[in-house]
């Protein structure tokens, strides 16, 4: 089990990572989700030992690895641009880590074949890595990291350079492989769809801190902050003021929301209006339709006040519309 304890790191005298702590258990895939510049790749490099933290500990099964050199950690690493060795072929790339461990030739041969089989690249062993497609290169990179049978796998935006359909296919395969091998994994990405598809647990990084941690369904259902709701694109974020118990005044009208937190009258709160029509809800939003964009099976309809909802049919531009909608309390 990996344990990251109170990692602190500055960049240009500003804190980049501020007291980061989390754990990753057997077979668990942790996803570090954050905008670019949130420090997630740096955190990964610190765990890998490629960069020192200013304070904090990295432990594995209770052993302190903080000052262990990266080549002695047994952590596999997969990069966004693959970082395959251009002067070696596919077999040699996959065998590299085993050679460094002075594994016997016979065993290397067996394990390389086995690993290439796992990533469905059995017949690619003699190819030059520079001749492979992006998706194939990423599989080789994965095989190279898997071949050493690491105790932890780390992915730094591994699918960022690939196109959408290929990404979805690889994601599915990756998830299957991770479950099959039961290696704990840390997956860094800025893409929330990827994160929700692969993670057992999601950690959202913002300004050097983990601001939300939980299972994908949990995080989706209760973002708990305006930033998370906005970052995940959950819907309209609305500023409100408490006027009575469960009564909120906003620039879009007054709403009645059952809030899990206690609020005093006059307190400012953030509300979330998911863009889905909930028939019969007490709360409604209204406005003049300014735009309706077709999105596969629905229309994204935007009002003149900036709010948006998804509707099954496109309303006439310029028409006045009233839509029942569920409002949630974020803070």
């Amino acid at each position: 089990m990996l344990e990251v304890r109170n990692i602190y790191k500055t960049y240009e005298n500003k804190p980049l990572l501020n007291n980061i702590s989390f754990t990753a258990g057997v077979g668990e895939t942790i996803c570090l989700l954050g905008a670019s510049g949130s420090g997630k790749s740096t955190l990964l490099r610190i765990i890998a030992g490629l960069e020192p933290a200013e304070s904090g500990l990295i432990l594995f099964n209770g052993h302190d690895l903080t000052s262990t050199l990266p080549h002695l950690r047994d952590f596999g690493l997969v990069f966004q641009d693959y970082a395959l060795f251009p002067h070696l072929n596919v077999n040699e790339n996959v065998a590299f880590g085993l050679k460094m461990r002075r594994v016997s030739q016979v065993e290397i041969f067996r394990r390389v074949a086995e690993t290439l089989e796992l990533v469905s690249l059995s017949r690619f062993g003699d190819r030059k890595v520079t001749d492979l497609s992006g998706g194939e290169q990423q599989r080789v990179a994965l095989a190279r990291a898997l071949a050493i049978r690491p105790r932890l796998l780390m992915f730094d935006e591994p699918l960022g350079a690939l196109d959408r359909t290929l990404r979805e296919d690889l994601l599915k395969e990756l998830r299957a492989i991770l479950h099959q091998t039961e290696v704990p994994a840390i997956y860094v990405t800025h893409d929330q769809e990827e994160a929700f598809a692969i993670a057992d647990r999601i950690l959202i990084l913002h300004r050097g801190e983990i601001i939300r941690e939980g299972s994908p369904t949990d995080v989706w259902a209760t973002p708990q902050s305006a930033y998370v709701a906005e970052f995940l694109g959950l819907g309209n974020i609305i500023d409100g003021e408490v006027i009575a118990k469960s009564e909120f005044r906003t620039e879009y009208g007054n709403f009645t929301v059952k809030c899990p937190h206690k609020h005093a009258n006059g307190e400012k709160v953030k509300l979330l209006a998911r863009p889905l029509v909930v028939a019969g809800d007490v709360n409604t939003i209204s406005g003049v339709v300014t735009n309706a964009i077709f999105q596969q099976d629905r229309f994204k309809v935007t009002f003149d006040n900036g709010l948006y909802v998804y509707l099954n049919e496109a309303p006439r531009i310029g028409s006045q519309l009233v839509v029942p909608i569920k409002i949630e309390c974020l803070t």
Binding site: L50, L69, H71, F85, F96, G97, A145
Partner: protein, 568 residues
Amino acid sequence: MISHGDAENTEILNKNLRDSVSLWRERILLWFLPLAFLAIAFFFPLSKILFLTFSTEAFTTENFQIINSALHITFFQAILSTLLTLALGLPSAILFSRYNFRGKSFLRALTAVPFMLPTVVVAAGFSALLGPRGLIHSLHPLSSFVFLGTLPAILVAHVFYNTTIIIRIVGAALSSLDPKLEHAARSLGADSSRVWRNITLPLLSPAILASSLLVFLFDFTSFGVILLLGGSRFATLEVEIYAQATRFLNLPLAALLSVIQLICTLIFAILYTRLSSRLTTQLAPRSSQSNLRRPRTIRERIFVTTLILFLTSFFLLPLSSLPLRSLFRLEADRAQRGEIQYGFTTDYYAELFVNRRGSVFYVPPIQATVNSLAYASATVILSILLGFPAAIALARRTRLEKILDPLIMLPLGSSAVMLGLGFIITFGSWLTSPLLVPFAHTLIAFPFVVRTLQPAIASIPERLRLAASSLGASPFEVWKAIDFPILRRATLAAATFAFTISLGEFGATLLIARPEYPTIPIAIERFLLQPGGLNYGQAMAMATILMTLTLVSILLIEKFRLPNAGEF
């Protein structure tokens, strides 16, 4: 309809014909002067040299012994020099492309300076530092170590000259290497020495090979350094050509030696071109992440500090002892008696304007400076006049230009001594004329001038000219408004290049300059070899002047040159 179409077709055909006729007329106009010059000043002498080698006089047993020994010495010193240059260049390349430290850009510029310096200046610099009349010797007069006239002197000077090549080529490859490759290797279980052996070194090997080959090429054709620091004891091909042509007057042997030299040079040049074309494809894509950082571990700090100290003293000491030595009297002048004022003096500079009876010249030494400046100015005018049409023609890459391009660059591959020899053989009866020198210098400067002008001319998009002429500008106005402002800087850079090359040229000038019209480098060489403190001091003073002029020129070229206009 049909006849109309035919008429249209004929018209298009006629127009194409007219276009290609005017294109050819333009081409002939552009190429005439440069090609005529090359034919007279390079290919004709070259053919004379070739012709001489076919005489029976050239192929004697005695000659073969000389050739054999010259080849032996040349390869021996060149290989040794290259290995030593690599030994200093590789760590330096790592230093510059991996670490950030204070004074980095200064140190980088410092290591690049020697490459542009005339050989006499470098020789005078090492003499001023380590020679029998140099600074170190005068501080420890009893020390018995000998530097000048030894193999180490040649090797050290070659390392001094060429380390910058390794730093530039290997350093560029190293900093474009994706740091993630090394990170990946480390995470796969390779310690830092195995990362270096299994990943970094194999990926750098084309760059290391290419740069070594280039260094080897420069060491192979080295002349001034070997003659001035090693002495004629080290009879390399170049030195032997010079000796055979001027001292033993055995022109057939000199010719044969230069042909062998030319063939070797061409083989190495072709190998280098092949290797360097592989450089770009071998490397991983450039990453946005910077490789540069401050040294962290104790080992890194020791490496960085030691290397910075070594590089600074290695490059700064010879360069700074030269002006220092030119301002201090450390030994008695020739025939000087009585009270001698040792210490600070400006005499050596003042004496440059005086014609002493003891002087080997019948002109004051300052006359050499005047000659040099006159030759350099003539070289600038000639090489710009010839370089411009060639560069304009080369800026359009058609088949003809692709064939002519290497032809233009050929003088670059042949040694200066060989060019001088060619002039002696071909224009022997005109050797009394001082006019020959600027022509020889132009031949050497011409490829540089073309290479500086060509990218600037090619960088002007045709659209700009079309836009200007569509707005009603005449061809001359177009040239004035579009071409001239863009080309002005490149022309200044090219002119400065030609000026600097002419100013410092040693090999060819040594063979063809008349004794009564010496240039600065020739005068320095003569003064260096003369006994007496005054002569030596004057050599130092003149070398300091030449160094200053060259440094100013380097600064000007850097200022004028287009960014990323290519190196070497």
